[in-house]
Amino acid sequence: MKAHLTRRYRFSASHRLHSGNFSCEQNRAIYGKCNNPHGHGHNYILEVTVSGQVDGRTGMVCNLIELDDAVQSEILERFDRQNLNTLLPFAGKVPTTENLCVAIYEILQPIFHAAHLERVRLEETMMNSFEYRGKENATVSS
């Protein structure tokens, strides 16, 4: 039997939305308050969904400790209490939550092998959430 398991995590980070491809006026018009040069922060909620056959011996899709360890070491330690603009995944890229969602998927996907990475979902606030399911499967909701 195939089941999907979702785990929620939290991290806090700051960012500034600004693109070198736009003029200052265009940046202000497009990104509004998010273009504030000093940046601002969010308490992000990250949902990681993995799927696979339920192991008959353990009753589990994958060992939660392995998933927690992977997310802790690869995602939370990298992004929590950081300024996203200063981090490698956002060199030359605007740290929108869309791009953050994709970055998290692309970091986790090649290193987590205990189950299939089905979906990364990020809540930037209670009102905005973003999902990425790998190439050709991106969706956004708000």
Binding site: A3, H4, L5, R7, R8, V54, R57, T58, G59
Partner: protein
């Protein structure tokens, strides 16, 4: 096609243990969940059914009937119970959230005649949930 989701809460205790594993393996794999005295959760169950809207009633499913089926098949059997000892599915299967979602699907699916069961979601905590879509 319209999807309808009904929530219900139940509280139960469980522990994880596989008699085929050594005590050390059980402790290593299941961690704190291996405590044989058990521990409990407030589970939140979401049952999603799908179907076409009945032109006479305007319903996908009669919510009263769905609530009754959920109560009879799931809550009466599992609420305020020790899953390992009191729910037959878990005499042979470990009552993980995965197996709980599967067991709830297997209890509900044959009892629903009007709408089709789409998804069973079981929250063990606010930060951990399992979805089962009936996939083999």
């Amino acid at each position: 096609m319209v999807y309808l989701t009904r929530k219900a809460e139940f509280s139960a205790s469980h522990y994880y243990h596989n008699p085929d594993f050594s005590p050390e393996q059980n402790r290593q794999i299941f961690g704190k969940c291996n405590n044989p005295q058990g521990h409990g959760h407030n589970y939140m169950l979401e049952v999603t059914v799908k179907g076409d809207i009945d032109p006479d009633s305007g319903f996908v499913v009669d919510l009263k009937q769905l609530k009754e089926i959920m109560h009879r098949e799931v809550l009466d059997a599992m609420d305020h119970r020790f899953l390992n000892k009191e729910v037959p599915e878990f005499t042979t299967r470990i009552p993980t959230t995965e197996n709980l979602a599967i067991a709830i699907w297997q209890r509900l699916e044959p009892k629903l005649d009007n709408a089709k069961l789409h998804r069973v979601r079981v929250y063990e905590t606010a930060d951990l949930f399992v979805d089962f879509y009936g996939e083999r």
